[in-house]
Symmetry: C2
Subunit: 738 residues, 2 copies
C-alpha cells in the first residue's frame, strides 16, 4: 500500500500549481473546522472513489462528443485532477497510485496514437476529436501529475515526462500551431496546458513557449477555423500573455461573451495562480490593470437573477455561475483580489470550493460570517483591448420583491462566436427571459445532435440579425453577415447614465452595419412613482441616404393575450423570406395597425407583459415563429412580433415595454392584465431632437426627449407644444402637468 | 363603536353554519397556542383590513369576468365571509359593522336590479353575468350574515332578510329553474346557496327547496346550457341530495373531472357541515356510503407530485390543492372523517386552515406532530353513481428521488365539461407533464380572452379526440363528437392490477365510440431490475367490421433530439385536416419508418424521453403542431407525433415510453441520452392473445402477453417461438433467458 518517496528533491518541489507544501499544511490543520471546505473535500472523495471503483479505463480514442471514449477521457481528467489534490491533502496513497496507473496507461498509448479518426476539426486532437479537448485534458492532468510527481519513482517520472507529457505539449503547440498560436479561447487553453505542464516538469522552454507563443508558425493568414473564424491576423502576437492582452477589455469583458468567458476563465486563472507561485516577478494578477480579477466581477454581473449567463453571441442557455470553472474563479478572485465579501455569497450558492488555499480562504470567510449579498447593479462593460470598441450595457432596476435587467449588445463582433446583432438587447425579469436572445443552435455534448457540435442552423439562424431584438434593413443581416466586415467595426456608446436609479439611459450609434445608414438606439429604464416595476422605453432613430425596408423584431415568449392589430392569419404558412435567417421564420399572421399606437399583450410565466408601439401609416406587423427550413427539428419553435416598415429613408421606431400584471392559476385571479401605457405620441421637434409624449391609463403624461449625439451640447432649450424645456445632458424625462 | 345586541333569541341562534357558539368558545380559548390557526387568523385579518381600508364599494353590475364590477363583487363576498368569522372569533365590532354596511348597500340595490346586462349566459345573474357567480356570492354572504345576524338590529335584520336574501334565494331558484333544478355543478352551488341562507334565516321552506329541488320547474327537456350540456333529463330528480347522489361515484370520483370537482367540493362540504349542525338526523357525512369524505381523498389523489390536478375534461392547468376550497375540504374531511393523519401533511403544504372547529382540529393535529406524508398510490376511481360506468385509472411508480404517474380516462363522458377522449392517458414525471392532455381552451378570468369564458377553440379543439393521447378513426372524433351519444356509453375497465408495484396493468375496452369497431387498450407500468424509472408499455388492439384509417397521437413536449424516421418537411405548412380538431394542427413533417421499430427521442425539462413504436409496412408518422385555424392566437403551439395507419381492419398499435436520461446545462453532461429499449417484436399468437418480445440495448429480453377480455379464463397456456408460457390472469410479463 505504501511507496517510499523515491526522490526527495523532486518531492520537495511538488506540489506547486494549485497547492504548495505550505498550503497543504494549512489545509491539513484546518480540516474538520471549516464546514464548506470539509463538504467540498468529502464530495471530491466520493467522486474519485466512484471513478476508482470503475477501474482504469483508457480506451483508444474513437468517438465524437457524447460518445463513450470522449466521455471516458473527460471523466479521467476530472477524477485525476481531484485525486492529485486528495493525495496531497489526505496523504492516502490510493489516490496517488490510481493517478499514476491511469497516467502510465496513457503513456503506453500516447506516442503511437495518430490524430483522432473524426476529421471534422481544423485542429484534430489525439485523445479527442479536437485539440481543444486535448488541451483541457492536459490542464487538468498537469494538476494530477503535480500531485504525485514527487511520490512516484524516478523511472515512472522519466516515462511520464518523456513518453506522455512532453510529446503531448509538443503536439498541442509546435505540431498544431493553427491551434496554439492564436488569440482565441482555443489558444488560451493550449498555452495554459503547455505552460502548466512546463511548470510541473521545470521545463522553462515549455513555459516560455506558453507565455510568448511560437515565433515562426507558418500560419496562412487566410486560414479559417471550423466556426469560420480567422486563425491569425498578420503580425499578431501569440502566447498566453497576448491572449490576456487582447480579448479582455479594461473592464474585464471578454469579447466572445460570457458563455465563452466562463469557459476561458478557468485556464487563465489556474495558470495565473501557478505563475503567482512560481514566477511572482510576473505580477500576473496586476497584469493589464488587474484585468483577471475584474474579469471575474464582469462575468458575475453578466448573469440574470439565477446566476445564469446572458447568452450573448454563441451561448448555451442555462449555463450559470454554478459551473465548476466559476467555483475556481470566485475562489481565486477572492484570495488574490481584495477579499470582496460579496464573492462569499456567490460561493455559498455554489456550495463548493477549490481544494486549495483559495478555497480554504473562502470557506473560512463564510464560516466567519463575512458574506455580503452580491447585488448586481447597472454597468457598462466596455469592449476592446483598449476599451474603445463599444461595450455591453446592463441596466437593472431592483425593486421590492424582484429585479429587471436589460442587457444591450453595443460591443464588437465577438470573434468567431459573435453574432450579427448590433444594438440588440434582451430583457429579464428575475431569473426569467422576457424578451429573449435565441442563444446558440447547438446541444452541447448531445451526441445525437451533430455529435454535440454546432448545428448548421447556428450560422443560418442564430447568428443572423433577424434572430435578435434589433433592426434589419432589406432582409439582410448587419454587415451582410460577413464576419470580416463586422469585425472591422463596432458601435459607439454615446450615453450611459445610471446615477438616478429611476431614470437610467443608454444610447449607442451603429453607423457601419449598412453603409449609408446610421442607427441611434436609446433605451431608458424608467421607474415611475406608482409603478414598482420599470418601463422600458426603446427609441430607435434611423437616418439613411436612401429608401429601405426595415424589420424590428420583438422576441416575446408565451401566449398572446390581446392586440389592437387587425390580424390576418393565412390558410397555409410560408417562410418569411429566403435568406439571412428569414427562411427559418414561419409567417403565422400579418397585422395592420388600427391606430397610431399598436398594443400587444402576452402572458408568460404567469405575468402579463405589453409592448406599446408607435406606428405610422403603412406599417405592418408580422407574427412569426421560428422553425421553417429546419429538416432536423434543430430549432425551438419560439414566437416573435416583427414591426415592418417599407420604403423609409429617415424615421423613428419607438416602443414601450412593461411587465404590468400577474396571473395566479390557483386563485385564477388576473391582476393588472392591462398595460399601464395608453399612448405614445411623437412631437414635432427640431433637427437633432426626438420628442415624445407618453400617456398612462391613469392620464398621467410624461415628456421624453433624446438628443442626437451630433447635437450634444452643455445646455438644451426647446419649445414644444407651447411649453419650454431646458435641461443638461443628452436626454430629458419628466412628468407633465395635467 | 359598540352596539347592544338587539335580539337575544336571535343572537343565541347564531352562528350556526361553519361556527357555533361552542366552537367559537373552543377557538377563543385556543388562540395563541396553535400556530397554524393563529397564522390563518392573522392572514384573514390582514385581508379584511385591506378590504375595509378601500371602503364600501357596491357598484351597479356591468362587467364580464375580469372587469371591475365583477372583480369588486367577488372581493366583497370573499372579505365579508371572513369578516363574519373574525367578528365571532375576535369580538371586534368593526368587522360586524363593515359586514352590515356592505350588506345594507346590496339590499338597497338588489330588488330593483334587472338581470345582468351581459347576455351570454343561459342563466344570467343579477350581480354577475351568470347565476353561478351569484350563487357563489350567496354561499359566502350566508356565512357573513350568519356571523352578524344576531348582532344587528331587528330592523336591519328585516331589511336584509326581506330586501336582499329572500329575494336573492327566490331569484336563484324559482325564477331561474334552468339553473337551480339540474344535476350539475351549477345547481350544486345554487341549491347550497339557497339552503344555507335558509338555515341562517330559519326558513324551512328554503331549506327543503334546496334539499329536494323544485317540483314543477317547466324545463324543456331539449334545453341546453352554454356549454351545450343538457339542462335536465326526463324524470330526473333535483335538489342538493340528487346532486350528491348522481355525479359522485362510490369511489368519490366526480364525473366532470377534478377541476370541476375542486370547484364543487366547497358548497358540498360547507353545506354538509351546516347540515351536520342543524339537521344531524340527515347523517350527511354517512350519506351514500360516506361519499363526501371519499371524494376529498379521490380529489387529492387526482394530482401530480406538485398537487396540481390532472386536467381531465375541461380543466385549467395549474389549479392545485393549494386552492381555498381544498383548504376547507381537507379540514372538513379531517374533522368529520376519521382524522386521517395524511391530511395534515396536505394542510401543512396549504399553510392555511378554515377559521372554525375543523381548521382548529387540523392546526392542533399538526402542532401535536401527528402529520403523516400523503404518498399517492395507484388506484382505480370508478365512475357513475353506481360505480359501473368505467373509471379513471391512476398507475404510479414511486422510486428513489422521483415518481411517475399515468392517468387513463376510461370513464363516462363527464357531462357538459367532458371531452371525447375514451381510453386517453397522460403521463407525469414528478410535478411535470411528460405526455400531456391539452386541458381546456380558456383563460379563466382574463377579460381580454372572451371575457374569461370558454373560447370557441375549446369545442373545436380541446374537446376533440385528436387533442388527446388516444386513437382516432377516419379523422372523426369518438361518437362523432356528439355529446348526447357519448353520454350514453362508457368504456369497461377489464383489468386493474397494481398489487405488484413493478408490474402494474390497466386494460379497458371501448366498443361504442365508432360503431362496428372495438378498441382494447392495455397500459403496463413496468419497473425492471436495473432501471429505477418504469417503462410504460401501451398495447392497443383494434378490431372492426370494416377498413378504416387510424391516427394515434403522442403529445410530447420540448425539443426533438433524434428519430430513425425518414423525415420530410414541406416548404409550406398546411392544416392536417378540415374538422374534428384536425383543422387546428399544422403538419410540420411526415415521417416514413425506416425499420419495424420507430424511435423518437425528445428533451424536455432537462430529461431525455423516448417512444419506441412497433410499425408496419405502410405506416406513416406526422410531426404536427397545434395552432392552425386560430385567428386570435388562443391555442398553445404544442407539438405532437401522430402514428397513422391507413386502410386497416384489425390491428395492433404498440409503443414503449421511457424517461431514460438527463441533461445538465451547467455541467453540459448528457447522461443516458439513448433509449433503453432497442426493439419491440410482435410474436405470432392464437386468437385472443397479443404477444410481444421486448429487447433492451443491453440484450435483455422480455415477453409480454395480454389476453383479450373475451378470452379470459383461470389458467392460460401458450406455445410461442418454441417456448411454453403458462400463467393466471389477463397478462404475462417476464424476462426471457438469453
Ligand atoms: Ca446575440
Ligand atoms: Ca445570442
Ligand atoms: Ca382531457
Ligand atoms: Mg434563469
Ligand atoms: Mg444571438
Ligand atoms: Mg406540476
Ligand atoms: Mg382534454
Amino acid at each position: 500500500q505504501t511507496t517510499t518517496p523515491s526522490d526527495l528533491e523532486s518531492n520537495a518541489d511538488h506540489p506547486k500549481l494549485m497547492l504548495t507544501s505550505k498550503s497543504v499544511d494549512d489545509i491539513k490543520s484546518a480540516l474538520g473546522s471549516v464546514p464548506l471546505f470539509d463538504k467540498s473535500l468529502e464530495r471530491a472523495k466520493q467522486e474519485v472513489d466512484a471513478a476508482m471503483a470503475e477501474g482504469i479505463q483508457v480506451p483508444i480514442p474513437k468517438d465524437m462528443a457524447g460518445g463513450y471514449t470522449h466521455t471516458q477521457h473527460k471523466k479521467n481528467y476530472a477524477a485525476l485532477q481531484k485525486a492529485g489534490a486528495l493525495f496531497q491533502i489526505t496523504g492516502d496513497t490510493k489516490y496517488a497510485a490510481f493517478t499514476r496507473d491511469v497516467l502510465l496507461a496513457y503513456a503506453k498509448m500516447y506516442k503511437s496514437l495518430p490524430r483522432h479518426p473524426q476529421e471534422r476539426s481544423y485542429a484534430r486532437g489525439k485523445i479527442f476529436w479536437q485539440c481543444l479537448n486535448d488541451a483541457n485534458w492536459l490542464v487538468y492532468m498537469s494538476q494530477a501529475y503535480d500531485g504525485i510527481r514527487g511520490w512516484i519513482t524516478e523511472e515512472e517520472r522519466q516515462t511520464l515526462d518523456n513518453e506522455l507529457f512532453r510529446p503531448f505539449a509538443d503536439f498541442l503547440s509546435i505540431e498544431t500551431p493553427q491551434f496554439f498560436n492564436r488569440v482565441h479561447n482555443h489558444s488560451t487553453w493550449g498555452t495554459v496546458a503547455v505552460g502548466m505542464i512546463g511548470l510541473v516538469m521545470n521545463d522553462d522552454e515549455l513555459v516560455d513557449r506558453a507565455l510568448f507563443g511560437i515565433k515562426d508558425d507558418g500560419i496562412d493568414s487566410a486560414a479559417l477555423d471550423n466556426d469560420g473564424g480567422t486563425i491569425k491576423k498578420e503580425g499578431q502576437k501569440s502566447g498566453f500573455l497576448a491572449n490576456l492582452d487582447e480579448p479582455f477589455s479594461p473592464d474585464g469583458y471578454y469579447t466572445e461573451g460570457p458563455y465563452y468567458q466562463r469557459y476561458a476563465m478557468y485556464p487563465f486563472l489556474a495558470f495565473a495562480q501557478a505563475l503567482e507561485t512560481k514566477k511572482p516577478e510576473l505580477k500576473i494578477f496586476e497584469y493589464n490593470g488587474g484585468v483577471l480579477i475584474k474579469a471575474v466581477d464582469a462575468l458575475l454581473n453578466l448573469t440574470d437573477a439565477d446566476g445564469e449567463f446572458f447568452p450573448l453571441n454563441d451561448g448555451q442557455k442555462g449555463m450559470s455561475y454554478q459551473t465548476a470553472s466559476l467555483v475556481s474563479a470566485v475562489d481565486i478572485a477572492y484570495y488574490y483580489g481584495n477579499q470582496d465579501p460579496r464573492l462569499l455569497s456567490v460561493a455559498l450558492q455554489q456550495d463548493n470550493v477549490q481544494l486549495d488555499a483559495t478555497g480554504l480562504a473562502v470557506a473560512q470567510g463564510i464560516h466567519q460570517g463575512k458574506a455580503q449579498p452580491f447585488i448586481k447593479e447597472s454597468m457598462l462593460l466596455r469592449d476592446g483591448a483598449k476599451g474603445d470598441e463599444g461595450g455591453v450595457a446592463i441596466l437593472r432596476a431592483n425593486y421590492e420583491g424582484g429585479t429587471m435587467a436589460l442587457v444591450m449588445k453595443n460591443a464588437a463582433h465577438g470573434l468567431s462566436h459573435g453574432h450579427f446583432d448590433k444594438l440588440s438587447y434582451s430583457l429579464y425579469e428575475d431569473g426569467e427571459e422576457v424578451l429573449q436572445d435565441y442563444g446558440l443552435a447547438r446541444f452541447v455534448n448531445v451526441e445525437q445532435k451533430n455529435g454535440g457540435g454546432y448545428l448548421k442552423e447556428n450560422t443560418s439562424w442564430a447568428k443572423q440579425t433577424i434572430a435578435h431584438n434589433t433592426i434589419v434593413q432589406d432582409e439582410t443581416s448587419h454587415y451582410k453577415g460577413i464576419f470580416k466586415e463586422s469585425s472591422k467595426h463596432h458601435p459607439e456608446v454615446t450615453t450611459f447614465e445610471t446615477s438616478d436609479p429611476n431614470i437610467q439611459v443608454v444610447s449607442a450609434v451603429e453607423a457601419n452595419a449598412y453603409p449609408g445608414t446610421e442607427f441611434t438606439r436609446t433605451m431608458m429604464m424608467v421607474t415611475l412613482d406608482h409603478h414598482k416595476k420599470p418601463l422600458l422605453i426603446d427609441i430607435l432613430n434611423v437616418t439613411s441616404d436612401s429608401n429601405h425596408k426595415y424589420d424590428l423584431p420583438l422576441y416575446y415568449k408565451g401566449q398572446v393575450v390581446a392586440t389592437n392589430l387587425d390580424l390576418n392569419t393565412p390558410p397555409q404558412l410560408s417562410p418569411l423570406g429566403t435568406k439571412a435567417g428569414y427562411q427559418h421564420i414561419w409567417k403565422e399572421a400579418t397585422g395592420i395597425p388600427s391606430t397610431e399606437n399598436t398594443q400587444f399583450t402576452w402572458l408568460d410565466n404567469k405575468k402579463f407583459y405589453s409592448a406599446t408601439v408607435l406606428t405610422e401609416g403603412k406599417d405592418q406587423f408580422i407574427l412569426g415563429r421560428v422553425g421553417a427550413s429546419d429538416p432536423e427539428f434543430n430549432l425551438r419553435r419560439d414566437p416573435m412580433l416583427i414591426h415592418r416598415r417599407n420604403n423609409m429613408k429617415n424615421g423613428l421606431f419607438v416602443q414601450v415595454i412593461e411587465s404590468h400584471g400577474t396571473y395566479n392559476p390557483v386563485t385564477e385571479k388576473a391582476e393588472n392584465a392591462y398595460a399601464a401605457i395608453q399612448n405614445i405620441k411623437s412631437l414635432a421637434s427640431p433637427q437633432g431632437y426626438t420628442a415624445l409624449e407618453l400617456t398612462l391609463q391613469n392620464k398621467d403624461r410624461y415628456a421624453v426627449i433624446v438628443v442626437d449625439s451630433a447635437f450634444a451640447k452643455a445646455q438644451h432649450k426647446l419649445e414644444l407644444s407651447n411649453s419650454t424645456y431646458t435641461w443638461k445632458g443628452t436626454y430629458y424625462f419628466k412628468q407633465l402637468k395635467n
